[in-house]
Subunit: 614 residues, 2 copies
């Protein structure tokens, strides 16, 4: 083609052409980058992903102008950690964001020391802008401006009313709209339009500079507030699907505005556009229990089944990267940072988890560099290796099938055969379970306690005895019979198998009904610091024959484990040699949550699931 | 004056004057009536009530143009029952509205058969309009249009975002704006202005007709969303007081618009304006725990202390009723219906609780017709007689002082000496307590169980025994030791003294430690139908010597009390003559909640506080 083309040109044309090529190449060395990140958009909720009831001509056009992925994941099934992964190129755990960050004024989010996409672009001479949702911290040092963005406009919390820009979902009802850290009021103005106009202006203001713009569109996250135009377009659709679909079309229209603007400014060919959803569609009450669609996938927002994490993903660099490509390779949002760095000819930062996937995007039919990935959210975790995916404590927010905690706490799927993850193959392929468990444990630094075990009843002397509380119990945890039922608890402290107390001791007297010879007393406990649950600090026992006078006190301290940030279930044992009918057990928690924890200086919780007497 | 005036007129003038007088008198026979009802406005939060930090020139002017009350009450400390009382002239209990009505689509509110102010005015040839908040039902038959209003514009639920008109405080986030029962969208338009404009238009459209307009202003209820003008006016004020004050000034400005409109239309002198707040200021988290002020009074929204119910109240009929009057007489919002009826020369409807107070308003220094009043909200109740006020189970949402449930469950104040209700005189004046209790009971149809009694420990055989549950307990109510602790429960089922179960039996085995001679077994139970708690249907006991084989079963049925709508605590006793160590107690609730109840066909709850063995 080039030869033919050159043959058509005279010398003057050739000179112009060379000039053009030079400029073009110069531009290509520093292409603009726009990352569009939508909020709670379901796995197949775009025309180009097969939706026939949602009209998205602009995003479909974007897909045609680039690569659309069918196996692109996010590293977490909820907003904040997914965004942390996108912006740092790291698993959210390694970016310091395990779950959604707080809405409380001045509370921290993603630690300031994390090196973000914005800092990477800034260090390479780009202007950097953030427009839309943040949800990675409410303090000055975790704000967009502190994390590498020259410019920021939007809301800091997880969601807002689109007209008043108030955050309504917890605590007092507060206004939440900021420009470069300063509260700004645009009473009654539609936020998607405000954000769209700010984005168009940003692009126009920076048309001469290379720029990186993180356009964090706050839709289709509840509240479903589409424009009148789209509300009417979908008025005969079923609710809540219609409202959700109208909100997606509201997104699409604004992405059209942006693409038109780039064309009008003549910088479309010099701008890489990335599009992805942050997590699966929401099935929360706030979202009418749904409205989105994960198509063939099981799960939705908050779930590590595919529907929570395998999402619409597009990259387009018109006339510079292949177009009209459907890429079926394995990709995770932590890969954006190294991939974009490579496409823009930056040096890669160190200590990232993502992989440079630029070759796979430049050359269709190249196999993915990626063979595996890990996820952890709350008690759920998942590891994928090739087409095998093993999950621990899976949760199906889409309710597409039943999960049995005893049998499905470890859930193995072969995604090449069962993309819907409906068949648990764990019992059929124990060797694969073991291999994936080992991979997960290596990633999770060996926390064996994350691995569900089939629980067998424990036979012990206390099982046939009686238990009474000496100190006042917490109102929510009074069924103390579970402490001598011979069953251990799952990691979930609200599962009914745990007795918890906040800031106070737990103290019980066990009556073994008659004098027994006692050699060992063990308590099972939980350490779950993200829920303010900490290993007990002190475990003390004493003995009695009459239930009144206790003596022979023995103590055991456990303070070394209090500062670990990982969740685990563990036991604490005291060996003894006693004959007694009654045993008094006292368990003390830490007085104050240690510094460095978000709950520092508040009182912590202790949780006990069994007192095992042998 | 008139003589002098007439002497100045020539014949032609006299004819014109007579014509004017005739028109004027005709008009005065059918004056327009506007009832302005604000939302969660504190007791002294107006300039004319002494506030020095809130600017309210228009409402202060309204007070100058009429009578401002210092002892005007509402009949309930929260929105819906307060509104029901206003609109029916009845205590809310008699209007079928005990508490806030549901936000759930199609749910009922104030029963359609209630005869409202709107129906009264309509039957007397008036146009009737409702503008603003409704909160008295979500079904067609409990809607404003079904309750007598020709015209209605506003929101049906308890509060909305003022720009998006969404209800955010429970369930899914829903749009809530209706005009005559049809959902209407005014995306982004400020609701206080929308409502104000509709009110001005209503007044203008009906300037030739007599009209009644219920202008239910949804401010200063959270979310605090004042206009930019007032936000800036108060920008140096402390939060949340500043936001709240700015919202009050936003109200005041719009009342100014209305007063100006009436003047401009020449109908101000022919329009009675009533102004009142529906309940005290809110101390809810949603309202930043406060912002309003109840001045010298104790209590706030949801409390029956004065601060929850004694509120800014004004009536003005310029040039027709006395002006610049401060009225210190006793008045309750149920009195508006008969008072306005009288001022407009209507016949009074039957079966109302309110009193015609028109004479007291027409002739300053006339004593109030009213000597007493009653309140009941949840477990709290109050009776006022002269200056004595007795409360049962008081609750101080303003936290101005401590309340001791044991000593202050009956709280007597002398308002002439202690308007702040800080000194409980119940022990000092037992005879007054008895007299007011009797009045309350007469009003409450003799439900003795509303009366807190100083609880004395009950000694019984079970107190020294053990108890275990045979059937699975409800997760929230597992501390079954309370059933044999010798203490009865307060009316509040969540007080920790109750064991509840939903849709299932409760079954326990009591171990008396040794064979005992048993003559009587009693269970204490709660009947609280508004919380879906119903008297047990069946109480069954059986006996055992070994704890394994039970025999001699005795049953007692209680079905007759299940349909009563009043709350009470009662006991059920079975007499017997048995020797046994073990007693099995089975308590069955009703299977389905009876027809006619809002929870009909759902399963009901049973609550037990003590199993008394004698």
């Amino acid at each position: 083609m080039r030869t033919n083309f050159f043959s058509l040109l005279n010398t003057k044309h050739i000179n112009l052409f060379i000039l053009f090529i030079s400029l073009h190449c110069f531009a290509q060395n520093k292409p603009n980058v726009i990352v569009i990140y939508t909020d709670d958009q379901g796995a197949v909720d775009l025309g180009c992903y097969g939706a026939t009831d949602i009209y998205t001509p602009n995003i479909d056009k974007l897909a045609k102008q680039g690569t659309r992925f069918t196996q692109a994941y996010v590293a977490a099934p909820v907003c904040a950690p997914s965004r942390a992964a996108l912006l740092t190129g790291k698993y959210p755990q390694n970016a310091g964001v395990n779950g959604n960050t707080s809405h409380v004024p001045n509370s921290h989010g993603m630690p300031n020391e994390q090196y973000t996409l914005a800092e990477l672009f800034k260090d390479n001479g780009y202007k950097t802008g953030h427009i839309g949702k943040w949800h990675l911290g409410m303090s000055a040092e975790t704000s967009p401006n502190a994390q590498g963005f020259d410019y920021s406009f939007g809301h800091l919390r997880g969601c807002i009313d689109n007209y008043s820009h108030y955050f309504f979902w917890a605590g007092p009802n507060v206004h939440d709209l900021y420009e470069n850290g300063k509260e700004v009021f645009y009473d009654g103005q539609y936020f998607p339009d405000l954000a769209s106009n700010k984005a168009l202006k940003y692009v126009e203001d920076n048309k001469e500079n290379p720029f990186f713009m993180y356009y964090a569109i706050n839709m289709p996250h509840y509240p479903y507030q589409p424009t009148k135009k789209w509300r009417e377009y979908y008025k005969s659709a079923k609710k809540p699907r219609g409202d959700y679909a109208a909100f997606i079309s509201t997104i699409d229209e604004r992405i059209g505005f942006l693409m038109d603007k780039l064309e009008a400014l003549g910088i479309r060919d010099n701008t890489i556009i990335v599009y992805q959803s942050d997590n699966g569609y929401s099935t929360e009450t706030r979202a009418f229990n749904g409205g989105g669609n994960s198509g063939p996938y099981r799960g939705a927002k908050s779930s590590l089944f595919e529907g929570g994490i395998r999402l619409p993903t597009i990259i387009s660099w018109k006339n510079n990267l292949p177009e009209n490509i459907v890429n079926d390779e394995f990709f995770v949002n932590i890969d954006w940072l190294p991939t974009l760095a490579k496409l823009c000819h930056f040096n890669l930062p160190k200590h990232i988890d993502g992989l440079d996937m630029s070759e796979m995007i430049k050359t269709p039919n190249t196999a993915s560099e990626r063979t595996g990935a890990f996820w952890k959210y709350g008690n759920q975790w998942a590891v994928r290796n090739g087409n095998w995916k093993l999950m621990g404590y899976p949760k199906d927010t889409s309710n597409k099938g039943k999960l049995d905690l005893e049998n499905d706490a470890l859930f193995l799927s072969d995604l090449s055969e069962d993309v819907s993850e409906m068949k648990n193959l764990a019992d059929k392929h124990p060797e694969i379970v073991e291999a994936l468990k080992a991979k997960y444990l290596a990633w999770e630094h060996g926390y064996e306690t994350d691995i569900p075990k089939k629980t067998k009843p424990i036979n012990h002397l206390g099982k046939h005895g009686k238990i009474k509380a000496v100190k006042k119990l917490n109102n929510r945890y009074k069924n103390i019979e579970v402490l001598i039922d011979g069953k251990r608890g799952y990691v979930d402290y609200s599962s009914g198998q745990w007795i918890g107390q906040e800031g106070k001791d737990l103290e019980f007297i066990l009556d073994l009904n008659e004098m027994k010879s006692i050699s060992e007393i063990t308590i099972g406990y939980l350490h779950n610091p993200s829920n303010w649950v900490f290993s007990p600090k002190l475990f003390e026992i004493s003995f009695s024959n009459d239930g009144l006078t206790f003596s022979n006190t023995i103590q055991s301290e456990t303070s070394t484990k209090i500062n670990t940030k990982h969740n685990f279930i563990d036991t604490l044992t005291i060996q003894t040699k006693q004959n007694a009918q009654f045993i008094k057990v006292n368990i003390k928690g830490i007085k104050n949550i240690p510094e460095g924890h978000e709950g520092a200086s508040n009182s912590g919780w202790i949780f006990i699931d069994e007192i095992i007497i042998k």
